[in-house]
């Protein structure tokens, strides 16, 4: 370029230290960097690792507002959340932030002309993250228990170019996209090597859970079994190993978030002490279980703490940071047990899977031949095994309630079935120009 052009072409510039959309992914290395950024969205805010598990555990049975918690937290505990709730807006927005970045990675990597095998793997990993987020959004805000419902979620498959609103998809359409993404991930994602990254195995594990929610029980059982039988992962020797190993040398975790003492000193353990405590119900259930000591700790002043996320150490430095187990193998046994029972009526397989978990945790084995009893035992086992972790027991309550197995009001007083899902954040409904309908009952 001539000097004079340098002097006068002042507006022909790109921003420094930030890359424009059309240049962010032009090769595989850049696609990998954008993929790391998308993964980073899992941990950049507390939405995925702290708030979502905490509010669902409060909606369910195992957590309650902590000492610093107030009305905002309590409304989840009483299953009476208003559409202007702070956490709603935060979680909803953060999940769409990840989806938007995943969409950048997917759409821009797909069109790269390269023979590099990482190309499909990167797309697959991004699709896994998109499926995970869409599934979480659907469980919280969509009528996931009713495939015929039009109240799915807003599905974003392209990066946003403006703030124009878009209508919600149906529940079926939502499931279809989630499953489509997971099938792609199963086919193209790398085989399992690391708990921090999406793998074909993680996609199978998540798919089994999605199918369970979709009531496609036989297929859910089949794919859960594939994961269980995979040689990549096995149960930890003891229940407490899961929470003492956390992220180092784990055998059981399938997909979880990392933490460290420099860039990712998240504050999960502190939040679980101050804002989100464990519920009295959970403590009372655990008191007669062999997992009690591993799951619950007491401070010197006698208050109970969630011992699953209490102390972590990284490179010798004690931190209040902690991980989130999106999927660990223990849950797969219980998914398998329920799915194989509901889908194939296979009591023996179900009981074996359930007792696998009880055996590992040194609890007495269950011996029953009654399908309903075993179904209930699986639900209870999920409270005991997975309680105060990711709120899985809340969705179990909703699913069992909708299947007619239980009346949810036996466990939580719910004013109406419309409270089984959350209201959409008011801001998005108000600004949608009538395109986004609020959930019924809100």
């Amino acid at each position: 370029m001539f000097t004079s052009c340098n002097l006068t072409d002042v507006t022909d510039i790109d921003p420094v230290y930030q890359i424009s959309e059309d240049k962010v992914i032009t090769n595989i290395d850049q696609a990998q960097t954008a993929l790391y950024g998308t993964y980073g969205a899992l941990i950049k805010s507390a939405s995925y690792i702290t708030y979502t598990p905490a509010i669902t555990s409060m909606m369910g049975l195992t957590m309650k507002p902590g000492v610093w918690g107030g009305g905002t937290e309590n409304s989840f505990f009483t299953n009476d959340v208003l559409s202007d709730n702070y956490y709603l807006e935060l979680i909803y927005t953060d999940m769409y932030f990840l989806i938007n970045n995943a969409n950048h990675v997917i759409t821009k990597t797909e069109i790269l002309e390269t023979e590099d095998s990482r190309k499909n793997e990167i797309v697959a990993e991004a699709k896994f993250l998109r499926a995970l987020s869409n599934f979480y959004l659907l469980r919280l805000w969509g009528e996931f228990f009713d495939e015929s419902s039009s109240n799915g979620i807003v599905l974003k498959e392209e990066p946003i170019v403006s703030a124009n609103p878009q209508a919600r998809a149906s529940v079926l359409e939502t499931y279809n996209l989630i499953l489509e993404d997971l099938e792609y991930a199963i086919e193209y994602a790398p085989s399992f090597s690391d708990t921090f990254y999406a793998s074909s195995l993680a996609a199978k594990a998540l798919k089994s859970k999605v199918l369970l929610y979709k009531k496609d029980y036989s297929n859910a059982a089949q794919i859960a079994l594939e994961v269980i039988n995979s040689s990549d992962r096995e149960l930890e020797d003891t229940f407490s190993d899961v929470f003492t190993k956390k992220i180092i040398g784990t055998k059981e975790a399938i997909f979880q978030t990392p933490f460290d003492n420099s860039n990712d000193r998240n504050n999960k353990a502190f939040m679980y002490r101050a804002y989100f405590g464990i519920s009295d119900y959970y403590i009372s259930q655990m008191e007669n279980d062999a997992r009690y000591e591993a799951a619950i700790a007491y401070t010197s002043s006698g208050s109970a703490r969630n011992n699953k996320f209490n102390n972590s150490v990284y490179s010798g430095v004690p931190l209040t940071a902690d991980t989130e187990y999106f999927i660990r193998l223990g849950e797969l046994y219980l998914i398998y047990a329920e799915a194989v029972l509901r889908g194939d009526n296979d009591i023996d397989e179900a009981l074996a899977a359930l007792n696998n978990i009880r055996e590992r945790s040194e609890n007495t084995l269950i011996s029953s031949t009654n399908k309903d009893e075993i179904l209930e035992a699986i639900r209870v086992e999920k409270v005991l095994e997975l309680g105060a972790e990711s709120g899985e027991e809340w969705y179990d309550l909703v699913r069992y309630h909708k299947e007619g197995d239980i009346d949810i009001n036996t466990y939580k007083e719910i004013s109406s079935d419309t409270k089984l899902i959350l209201p959409l954040p008011i801001q998005t409904v108000q600004l949608s120009e009538g395109l986004i309908n609020q959930n019924p009952g809100y």
Binding site: V10, V16, Y96, P258
Partner: protein, 1104 residues
């Protein structure tokens, strides 16, 4: 009227900028467009307009000559002149420098021709001892001539008996007859009229004041310099109507906030655009207000790099007609600053000045001593019904310790300045130079606070050929500032008086419950900002043809700032966090390069006068920063550098933006009577998306010199009246770059991999904020030009104001910038200067300016920011209203009983607490009872300057005032209302309410403030109207004759005092503060972080 004649006077700047390389012969052709009869003066005008010639002649030379008849056609210059000037009476010659010198032929006195030619030198000054530049000096009326240089000096050959005459526009002519021994003649010219011919700088050019159609205020620089301010922004206080200047604090090196006709932008910066020697400088780098206020503690304003003594002129452009040439950056007004330039004199003019000052706080708070402090703590705990704190809490170092922290952290605030300047050039105007160097060393009133600046500057220009001129500017300064952004004073006074400086072991004493080390220790923590500024430019100017000039300027400016703040390991907070020292270090660099190309064209014929400028300008700005937080150092003194720390965290970034622009200004006037101006600029900015990159900013102005119309011509007391109006559009794009599209940036870490994520919710429609401004004004000059001034009205409406707008959350974000708000500022500006006395012995001139402004949020259109409300101003305070103090329990019980909540304001309210007003009448005090309780905007403000001269003395007094503005006196909250025993209170708290002391407005002493008396209320909002003697300056000029032996041409001493007294009802230390000056929404907030100081200075100026 003799206005028309003045063009013939020699103006150096005109001559040298417009001199042609192609010397016109005396046979140059002049075209006469029609047959007519014209005066000799008009002949000259025709010649001047069609050729390069300028004229040198005595002003009244042709007053009584007969008119000349000319015929349509072409005529030689030579012939035309011969026709016009009666032969034998006048002679004329063409000189090599394109001047035509016209001489009156007088009878030759034999005796005088015998005398020997010698060089006569001297200095021409005005009555104020200020050198006059460009005074025409003629020998024997027309024999030969020269003009004075920048320092008023001249040098000319003459002999005994010759008559030297001195003439200058706006001044009365003077003549001297040389005696045998005289070689030096110093002349003092008296002002004859308002300086209508004064040249005013406007964007990319200049204009005579009388021809200005827009609102431009020329700041009187010699008055401004009397304020002895280290930075130009603080010195503008009270100098110009429409310009609201508030000093942020009394710390050395602190900046001022300047608002020209109000706030126009929410996210943008509202400081005016500064154009320093042609280089536009945006405060806060044009990146918006949040960037500016976040960085104001780690960087120094680029204005602080300029030594006010180097400045030659300041012109403030206010209306749309004047500012539109700066297009998208003009909405907040433009301040044009030029530094000193060389002069046409072979003898260098060297000036040396030095100044020393001493400062002290204008007022200090009187704080409780340890005994008084302990007494009120005890009372407050008793009143609260709680147990007294344990003895080790109440008397951490025993009951005998009493420390006056104000005294322990004070230092003698001396300020010393040295300034050296040399100006000169070749006598033929070929080359000019100006060099200067200066040192400022200022200490603040608090220990370790200081401002130091070293500055060197040169300006050189030379003629490469007759038509081609080149020049360069260079300005470098390095500045070190300690403590301008600290809250030292505030932290100091509040520190507990019962803590010693050192404990028994020799460690620093500290409040055991507090998180801060004691003030004596704190002021010793290393903390400074280092700033280096460089501005260079190179220009070339080529005359293409008569009246047509091309100029190209390349400029580069760069500023680096390093901020260093170290908290040593013994700091209380460090100890508590198990850290061994924390260093916050940030480095930032900003650079701007600009290429300006302009084409100027001037043409005058008959009564028509046309001038225009057409230009293109390219600007590119870049900034980078990195900041390091380092902790755990091996020691506190030597190895305090990031590399020595055990733990480091680093952040960095930067941005870039480009602006390419085309602009045009065309002025036309007929007969100095009717004026039309059109100005426009098209800007192309990278801040906006492809659809909105271009912004067009047109403006137009009309003026009518009504005093030249027949119906006013004969009214004697009217000298000049000009009506003018302008309307136009300017813009603002002063916020962060690249909001229009999705961009990715790093910092999304995952498992120690640094990934990129999208960082914006793109708004492809984002565009300029637009300000449309109407200006209507009258400029007047009355009573023999002894009264001059102007009165104007302005109305500024800003549309497409950028605010946050909520967006649907499926975008992954909550809000985005959007152009949605409409704001308005309107007001009046009034300025008058009066020459009250003017005789030989005593002169008194006075100048008053006054401005009213009302701002209003017109529409928010669903956007929001901060506390903006439609229909209100932009800077109001909200809070509760205090109705008074409860005197009895019965009053409280009655209100509680009537409340639907059972409680009126707090269940612990007791007599002695504030009673708040139930604004919404719902029976209790809730959030809804917050109301508007004051406004930081003044009703009117201004300045009043007086100059008295008698003998060799000159006294100037500057008063400034502001009426109707409110301040949030945050100090009252902490110093007068008890909260706990972790901080000290002022002695005013001794007057707190008790059942015996009921006639007070200070609530009772009670621990933990159960009634929340400290909530935001109108108790803290005070009327801060004031009238202040801002500065008084007494100057004495030494008699030049006494100085001659010392080889000094001129010398003067001056004594000045600033912030001398203030009349106000405000109870804080000083009503003239603005601690949050950098923030658009923190105006009018007084936290006494570093109170204003009053300063007494003694200065000496020498001219060698």
């Amino acid at each position: 009227m003799n206005l028309m004649r003045t063009f013939i006077l020699l103006f150096c700047s005109t001559v040298f900028s417009f001199t042609s390389g192609n010397l016109l012969s005396q046979n140059a052709k002049i075209t006469i467009d029609s047959d007519k009869t014209i005066s000799v003066d008009e002949v000259f005008e025709i010649i001047k307009s069609q050729t390069d010639y300028t004229f040198l002649y005595q002003e009244n030379l042709f007053e009584n000559l007969p008119k000349v008849k000319v015929e349509r056609g072409v005529i030689k210059t030579n012939t035309l002149l011969k026709m016009s000037l009666p032969a034998g009476v006048f002679d004329f010659e063409f000189t090599s420098s394109n001047s035509i010198i016209i001489k009156q032929i007088i009878a030759i006195d034999e005796a005088t021709t015998i005398g020997e030619q010698q060089t006569i030198t001297g200095v021409v000054t005005d009555g104020n001892n200020i050198p006059l530049f460009g005074v025409t000096v003629l020998v024997n009326q027309n024999e030969r001539g020269t003009s004075t240089d920048m320092d008023g000096k001249y040098s000319i050959e003459a002999k005994e008996g010759d008559v030297l005459s001195f003439s200058y526009v706006g001044f009365t002519n003077q003549e001297f007859t040389l005696t045998a021994s005289q070689t030096t003649i110093n002349v003092v010219l008296k002002e004859s009229a308002a300086a209508l011919e004064e040249v005013v700088l406007i964007g990319y050019g200049s204009q005579k004041r009388k021809d200005i159609t827009g609102s431009v205020t020329k700041v009187d620089l010699k008055e401004l310099k009397k304020l002895n301010s280290s930075s130009i922004d603080n010195a503008l206080v009270g100098r110009a109507s429409g310009v609201y200047v508030v000093t942020s604090s009394g710390a050395p090196g602190s900046s001022a906030s300047i608002r020209v006709r109000g706030i126009t932008s929410i996210f943008g910066n509202n400081e005016p655009l500064y154009v320093i020697d042609g280089v536009p400088i945006e405060i806060g780098q044009g990146l918006g207000n949040s960037y500016y206020s976040q960085n104001s503690s780690s960087t120094l304003s680029p204005l602080s790099s300029i030594n006010p003594q180097d400045i030659e002129s300041i012109d403030i452009l206010k209306d749309a007609s004047a500012t539109a040439i700066y297009g998208s950056r003009g909405a907040n007004g433009v301040v044009i600053i030029t530094t000193k330039k060389g002069s046409y004199s072979s003898v260098p003019s060297i000036s040396l000045s030095t100044r020393g000052s001493v400062s002290r706080f204008t007022k200090e708070y009187s704080m409780l001593n340890a005994d008084q402090f302990h007494n009120i703590v005890k009372t407050a705990y008793e009143n609260a019904g709680s147990d007294l704190p344990e003895d080790d809490q109440l008397y951490p170092y025993g009951s005998d310790v009493n420390t006056n922290w104000q005294d322990e952290t004070a230092q003698d605030a001396f300020d010393t300045n040295y300034y050296l300047n040399a100006n000169g050039g070749s006598i033929n105007g070929g080359s000019l130079y100006s060099l200067s160097a200066s040192i400022n060393d200022q200490k603040g009133a608090i220990y370790s606070t200081s401002f130091k600046r070293n500055n060197v500057r040169t300006k050189l220009e030379t003629k490469l050929s007759e038509n081609f001129r080149v020049g360069t500017n260079f300005n470098y300064s390095d500045t070190n500032n300690k403590g301008s952004n600290t809250t030292f004073y505030y932290q100091t006074i509040k520190y507990r008086p019962d803590v010693p400086i050192y404990d028994e072991e020799g460690n620093f004493g500290a409040d055991t419950g507090g998180v801060q080390s004691n003030p004596y220790a704190r002021v010793r923590y290393p903390s400074y900002v280092d700033s280096k500024n460089l501005m260079i430019s190179l220009f070339g100017e080529y005359k293409l043809m008569q009246g047509l000039m091309f100029k190209s300027t390349y400029s580069y400016s760069t500023a680096t700032n390093k901020s260093f703040r170290y908290t040593p390991s013994h700091d209380v907070f460090e100890l508590r966090n198990n850290r061994k020292g924390t260093l916050n270090q940030s480095d930032s660099q900003f650079s701007s390069r600009i290429l300006d190309n302009t084409l100027t064209y001037n043409k005058s014929f008959d009564k028509h006068d046309f001038n225009s400028v057409l230009g293109v300008s390219y600007t590119q700005n870049k900034s980078e920063f990195s900041s390091i937080k380092a902790t755990d150092f091996p020691d506190d003194n030597v190895m305090v550098t990031p590399g020595a720390a055990s733990n480091l965290s680093l952040s960095s970034g930067g941005t870039i933006s480009g602006l390419s622009s085309y602009f045009l200004r065309a002025n036309y006037n007929f007969d100095d009577r009717y004026y039309v101006t059109f100005t426009g600029r098209a800007d192309n900015s990278t801040k906006f998306g492809p659809n909105n990159r271009r912004g067009y900013f047109p403006s137009g102005a009309l003026a009518w010199r009504i005093s030249r119309e027949n119906f006013l011509k004969d009214i004697e007391f009217i000298n000049d009246i000009k009506l003018r109006t302008s309307y136009g559009k300017t813009g603002s794009a002063n916020f962060s770059d690249f909001q229009y599209a999705t961009f990715f940036s790093s910092g999304s870490f995952y498992n120690n991999n640094n990934g990129v994520v999208s960082n914006t919710i793109p708004n492809p429609d984002i565009k300029w904020e637009t300000t449309n401004q109407l200006d209507i004004a009258v400029d007047y000059s009355l009573l023999d030009r002894r009264i001059n001034g102007s009165l104007g009205y302005f109305h500024k409406k800003t549309t497409d104001q950028i605010l946050y707008r909520d967006v649907i959350l499926e975008t992954g974000g909550r809000s985005q910038y959007s152009n949605i708000g409409d704001f308005q500022n309107k007001g009046f500006e009034f300025q008058v200067g009066v020459e009250i006395f003017s005789n030989e012995k005593f002169q008194w001139t006075t100048e008053l300016n006054l401005t009213t402004i009302k701002s209003k949020v017109l529409k928010l259109n669903g956007g929001y920011y901060n506390n903006l409300i439609e229909g209100e101003s932009m800077s109001y305070f909200s809070g509760y209203k205090v109705a008074g103090i409860f005197q009895t329990q019965a009053e409280i019980d009655a209100l509680n009983a009537a409340s639907p909540e059972g409680v009126y304001q707090s269940s612990n309210t007791a007599p002695g607490d504030f009673m708040f007003v139930d604004v919404n009448d719902d029976g209790f005090i809730g959030d809804d009872d917050n109301d508007i309780i004051g406004n930081a905007e003044p009703d009117f403000f201004g300045g009043w300057n007086n100059i008295f001269r008698f003998g060799n003395f000159e006294v100037s007094t500057l008063f400034n005032f502001s009426v109707g503005n409110y301040l949030y006196n945050n100090n009252k909250k902490d110093l007068l209302i008890f909260n706990n025993y972790s901080s000290n209170y002022s002695t005013g708290i001794l007057n707190a309410w008790t059942s015996e002391n009921t006639n007070t407005n200070i609530p009772r002493l009670v621990a933990s403030d159960p009634n929340n008396n400290r909530r935001d209320s109108d108790f803290f909002i005070e009327d801060a109207s004031f009238f202040k003697l801002k500065n008084i300056n007494i100057a004495y000029k030494f008699n030049p004759k006494l100085l001659e032996k010392l080889f000094i041409q001129r010398a003067s001493v001056s004594l000045s005092a600033s912030n001398v007294f203030v009349i106000t009802k405000y109870t804080g230390l000083d009503p003239e503060v603005n601690y949050g000056g950098a923030s658009n929404f923190n105006q009018g907030y007084d936290s006494a972080s570093y109170p204003p100081v009053s300063t007494i200075s003694l200065g000496l100026n020498l001219n060698l």
